[in-house]
């Protein structure tokens, strides 16, 4: 069998068949990097939504302790918004889809890994703070006097328990969610990089 001759025959017989369906340039992508970009946009919109909600709450509550708590959460959300929007703008800007394969694979792999780490850190930081703020607001609404409520040792212990449970829970939940979403993709990319770099 002559490889080249058989290849040309194969091209004519099998590889040249048009792909079924309409050919149009669609507006969205299912590429992992593009999906991350879309996820950043969603998170940015969510952070704006929650930020607006917390600003309203800031003016609704009168207790200074709750105001300080909500003010802190607003600050965290502003930071989160800025970082998320920055990531949204950066994602895809330098994606080397028309550069060499080694660059494209390494870039995609490190980009996804870096973003998962970012989300894990955000979960570690943001959700427990949100939880603590929610705890204080709930306490304020429920008891009517947050200052005396926060003086009770049982309430403080409960707050610590909520934080101790929520922090690792949010962290591992985020890690698990990203593993489900991107685990196979990352493992495939790693295998491809190793295959590409193998000496023979």
């Amino acid at each position: 069998m002559d490889l080249l001759e058989t290849w040309q025959k194969l091209e004519r017989e099998k590889l040249s068949k048009p792909v079924e369906g309409a050919v149009e340039i669609r507006k969205t992508s299912r590429h992992p990097v593009e999906q991350l970009k879309a996820a950043y946009m969603r998170t940015t919109l969510f952070s704006v939504f929650f930020l607006a909600g917390f600003i309203v709450l800031f003016f609704l509550f009168e207790e200074p302790l709750v105001k300080v708590g909500i003010g802190f959460v607003v600050g965290v959300y502003v930071f989160f918004f800025v970082v998320n929007f920055g990531m949204y703008r950066r994602v895809g800007m330098d994606f080397p889809v028309d550069r060499n394969l080694k660059d494209a694979l390494n870039h995609t792999y490190s980009y996804i890994t870096e973003n998962i780490r970012f989300q894990e850190r955000a979960a570690l930081f943001l959700y427990p703070i949100g939880g603590a703020a929610g705890f204080m607001m709930g306490g304020s609404v429920g008891s009517g006097d947050i200052n005396s409520m926060m003086m009770k040792p049982s309430v403080l212990i409960l707050l610590v328990v909520v934080l101790v449970v929520m922090t690792p829970l949010c962290f591992y939940l985020t890690r698990w969610m990203y593993k489900v979403s991107y685990g196979k993709c990352l493992s495939d990319l790693k295998t491809l990089i190793e295959d590409l770099e193998r000496p023979n």
């Binding site: 069998m1 099998k14 507006k27």
Partner: protein, 159 residues
């Protein structure tokens, strides 16, 4: 800024490249369609960077292969399920099956090897393949030698 019309005209002339890349990596018609649209999307997005330093066809191979290999995988995408044991009985008296045997043998290769042999069979020099893959020319030469040996063993090519 290049126009969409210019882009679609170039794609129209070279869409065989996209078909070829897809056929070597995907089996399912829905995945084919999905990947075709994805390659079009990525090509269009990167088209502004195309300076004409290489041929459009080479650039399209690069974008197509990068897209296929970095795309988020579904189980049916890129993986092989063909029973290649039948290849062991391919012989010179079964010429009609040679093209099918070659197709199956190439699909049985690893994804990177598939890319290298595709570009080689399409007439690209080792230096060009190395440029597309991001490897050294010598590295491609070694890989190509091994891939050809594997294919020869699978297909029992003489010589």
């Amino acid at each position: 800024m290049p126009s969409e019309r210019e882009f679609t005209s170039l794609i129209d002339q070279n869409k065989g490249i996209i078909y070829k890349v897809i056929r070597l990596y995907v089996r399912d018609p829905d995945d084919e369609q999905d990947l075709f649209q994805e390659i079009l999307f990525q090509s269009w997005k990167s088209f502004a960077h195309f300076k004409g330093e290489s041929k459009f066809s080479t650039w399209l191979y690069r974008v197509g292969l990068n897209t296929v290999l970095t795309f988020k995988r579904r189980p049916s995408l890129v993986e092989n399920h063909e029973d290649l044991s039948q290849l062991n009985v391919i012989s010179s008296e079964r010429k009609g099956e040679e093209t099918e045997a070659l197709y199956l043998a190439i699909r049985e290769l690893g994804e990177i090897d598939r890319m290298i042999i595709l570009l080689h069979l399409e007439g690209y020099e080792n230096e060009e393949i190395a440029d597309i893959a991001g490897l050294l020319k010598g590295h491609i030469g070694v890989k190509l030698h091994r891939i050809k040996k594997v294919l020869k063993n699978k297909l029992r090519i003489e010589g």
